[in-house]
Symmetry: C2
Subunit: 571 residues, 2 copies
């Protein structure tokens, strides 16, 4: 096993592949070196002067270790792990720390195991963190519950790298017994726990870290990030579709950079296509003033050290030959990507077969709803004053407004207002739960639109101004096994895009899904949706009962500041 590497390093046998005349980034001493990088089978055997069966001249180009995404939810791409690999590997990402939190909310451990199995089909290392907060809150109905018992049973599994982001930080501070059971089981297994604690500092940060939490990808300020690093936390710089903190490169010094990691968290397929993946993060970090070599260390070795990935993240003997050849250290445009010594992408195109898919029956047909009538979506406001959810044009915060509304036949009247009904229909267990609310200013008119992605329990969320259309929308999503839908009352049409995997992701090729999605979004904009919003995906956060102010879940309207349900009636 070792002999082939040793002999190739000593030039007693020929290398399989050599990157000739490379300028490459040395993440161990912060320099750029030049030479040939010798590769035997899946590993780098050394640098210096090497010759090989195959040689690629890299003169004038730069070679980096394969990029490592320290925290990502594959589900946000709406693509299978295989399609996701085909999207991101050409951008130089060769390892990801995946937290299948969304899949787990629908499918429990089946969702986690789906990612583990699917990852075997592609040249991308997918290290799986066990989702820690399923459901995210006790106020909603999810498809599965991963309590302390389930975490303890599964964290020991060798396919599980660690415990996923512990979002429920108040429950750590409150020493909730089931929470402590999850954390203690992970420690007993000797695995890492990812954190999630925006703006937590001082004693509260100390308390949270005493749960044995090692990372955070939610830093907002420079001071916060520096404090967290000082307290031993690995902090992620994030370049998601919604949430980004790349300007925090200002917090980085030569003395603390070893605890900074890059991640994407939630990044849509369209953004990956348009702007890239971690290559884009490197570019942004350097634009923001970070030394390119330190930026590369953040995107490679640091994550490997944090997550215990041995012999990855650097260009050195015995390290896996996960490598990216880029044009320069400014734009980081990837020209060639190697995984385990094989060329797997060139000039932005994946060279590997993505047709092999793991598609077990249990990921399909996951939308189960009770048989409803149109009248079930009536909203009765007796007081004439309603508590209405408001949204900003962009961002994921919501507000509350008290607005006078008229009613007719026991249902609120929407004509002549900029209000819409918002409906969350429980879709896992056929409980028949319907959460109802009113939302202002979304812009849509003349039917119903909705999606089966709705953080974090992923029930069905529908906006509409017509009960029949809402019913049709619900039934269409149930029929296709989840996805996005628009019911146009005037035209009498029902258009949809299928997310047939857990109602979250599509088994189709990503290009096709993106095209279909764009078409459907355009129709939503045509029907009035505020163009500053993402037509469907802005909806998916409106049920996330941890971000202020009002949120709607299947059990009702939730005030995150009061941390309790509130009535729709305002008085």
């Amino acid at each position: 096993m070792l002999e082939k590497y040793i002999k190739a390093a000593l030039k007693e046998t020929e290398c399989d592949l050599v990157l000739k005349n490379a300028s490459f980034v040395d993440v161990f001493d912060g320099n750029i070196k030049t030479g040939d990088i010798g590769i035997k089978d899946d590993k780098i055997v050394g640098y210096g002067v090497y010759s090989g069966k195959k040689e690629i001249d890299c003169k004038g180009k730069y070679v980096l270790p394969g990029l490592v995404d320290g925290h990502v939810h594959i589900e946000s791409s709406q693509a299978t792990p295989e399609e996701f690999a085909a999207m991101i590997v050409p951008h130089g990402t060769t390892t990801i720390i995946a937290d299948p939190h969304e899949l787990a909310n629908v499918l429990g451990m089946n969702g986690v195991n789906y990612v583990v199995e699917a990852s075997k089909n592609v040249p991308l290392d997918i290290k799986v963190q066990l989702p820690s907060c399923v459901p995210a809150t006790p106020y909603e109905t999810s498809g599965a519950i991963l309590g302390g018992k389930e975490i303890a049973e599964n964290i020991v599994n060798q396919n599980i790298n660690g415990l996923g982001e512990f979002m429920a930080y108040p429950s750590v501070l409150m020493c909730d017994p089931d929470t402590l059971k999850k954390l203690e089981a992970t420690h007993a297994a000797g695995k890492i726990i990812d954190g999630h604690a925006p703006l937590l500092t001082g004693d509260e940060l100390n308390g949270y870290l005493c749960g044995g939490i090692s990372t955070d990808h939610e830093c907002i300020t420079v001071e916060e990030m520096r404090e967290k690093i000082s307290k031993g936390v690995y902090c992620h710089l994030r370049i998601g579709s919604y949430t980004r903190n790349m300007d925090l490169v200002k917090a980085i010094t030569p003395y603390n950079y070893r605890r900074v990691i890059l991640c994407t968290d939630d990044r849509h397929a369209a953004d990956i296509k348009k702007a890239g993946h971690l290559d884009n993060a490197l570019k942004r970090a350097v634009e923001a003033g970070l030394d390119p070599v330190l930026a590369v260390a953040c995107g490679t070795i640091n994550a490997c050290e944090c997550y215990g990935l041995k012999y990855r993240g650097a260009i050195a003997p015995f390290y896996y030959a996960d490598l990216v050849v880029v044009e320069d250290l400014k734009d980081f445009k990837p020209l060639l990507v190697l995984k385990d010594g094989e060329v797997v992408a060139e000039n932005g195109k994946a060279l590997f077969d993505t047709s092999k898919r793991y598609l077990p029956e249990f990921v399909k047909n996951t939308v189960h709803v009770k048989e409803f009538k149109a009248d079930d979506f009536k909203i009765e406001i007796k007081s004439k004053k309603a508590r209405v959810m408001t949204t900003e044009s962009s961002g994921v915060m919501t507000g509350e407004a008290i607005i006078e509304v008229a009613s007719k036949d026991g249902d609120v009247t929407l004509e002549g207002t900029d209000l819409l009904k918002m409906i969350v229909v429980e879709r896992h267990k056929m409980t028949g739960n319907i959460g109802k609310a009113l939302i202002k200013g979304y812009g849509f008119k003349g039917g119903a639109m909705g999606i089966s992605v709705a953080h974090d329990s992923h029930n069905i969320i529908i906006l509409g101004d017509d009960n029949e259309c809402i019913l049709k929308a619900v039934n269409e999503l149930a029929k296709i096994g989840g996805g996005m839908v628009i019911v146009d009352k005037e035209k009498g049409t029902v258009d949809s895009v299928k997310f047939d995997i857990a109602g979250l992701m599509s088994s189709e090729a990503s290009e096709i899904v993106q095209e279909q999605s764009k078409k459907l979004a355009d129709k939503a904009y045509d029907m009035g949706v505020d163009k500053n919003k993402e037509a469907f995906f802005s909806l998916t956060f409106l049920s996330l009962a941890v971000i202020p102010h009002l949120r709607l879940v299947d059990k009702g309207l939730f005030d995150v500041i009061k941390f309790d349900f509130v009535p729709l009636e305002a008085e």
Copy 2:
């Protein structure tokens, strides 16, 4: 389990101990911070403003994480692990990576397990590396053999942290099958392999590292150390009794310091008593120009990251409360040492009970020799020219000289020369093997002197000019179970110091052993030993058949440059 830490961090319960008003070294961002360090039970729960049941004012002093010795042979102190802890903990060392290579050469796995068990008695974390090269060469008779099979069986043991220094680097480069078996078994167990490869660079270094070796404590030049770090190696700065490379702090930069570790390797009790332990290494590193905060990182967190010791080596929430209070960041004089939250040493004195000892029968009575006659130590030189070992006044290199000698009754005549007989008697298996040589310039006259510590197989090594005295010396060492001996022909006396544990270490209190040893050394100097040498311990390297030029082992005279045995007769 976690609750007590979280509640104390949040000040819902009181800390057990608080270091008030501390200036402390933040190894994560290279700064010095000030505040109170709150401790609950065995862990730090946070810093900031804390109060506790017990408070220690640290105003004007500095607090460091407990120091970590990245590579040490406890045996070189001639003390039990318990006594060793009592020696070094007051100097601020709270964790050591121990390689019981000498014990293993005498006792095999019993020697390793002895250290594991003894370590449980003291407030010092002793992480044990499995000795990888027992015996060090095939040219000598050791007490035990740890081959590929034995390594594979034992490396998986949870008490074993990794594989000890792989000294036999040529056998890695030659792909010796048993060597590869050892390395591969360690990789399969997911454990770390320590290296030992002085001056290895370029392709040969690449080849050695392709064995999956992670560390090196043998760097000699700045360029060598920088290359090794660049290739992912953790490099130790060493402050042993013989071998030191502290001037290599010149190789350290803010970008590469995270891969530098401090170690003592072989350090005698007398040196620890006189100059200290890692506190001395910190002082020397700073004197040599290293930033004190980086020096502390080298002595703490870096070793913990290298050897996979979680939650150690830093002052941060959830980290074990292994702490050292020092007077300043110049001399690093330790005033107070905490281990797992307990004060275990103060002003240079251990506060813990060292009377509890693990002393199993199998470590005792390990010197087994055949019954010899004085004539067995005759050295017959027929050619009149002998190949003689020369030594330098200091250092561990030897040379070769061809010298005319006279003989009488089939034995070399030593009168009127500065030659002595050197005898190595196999003492493990009663093979009766006697290695014989002549040594020039050691200075001793009028009897015999010897020791049962003789690297690496630890046979008995005797110098003398009288066969009867040599016999008495051998028999005395056999009788006392190993140690040091002087036989004075004129006075008719036999004086000795007992190393009753494996013939390497004493079960006595270290103070007593040091006093006895000093007395015996003084007698050796009185009998003529060159005062630039360590009277007995300079002998212990004369059988180490890996350092040029001539060495003597139980199987004969060995030429390290030719890498073969050579005759005593020079023509």
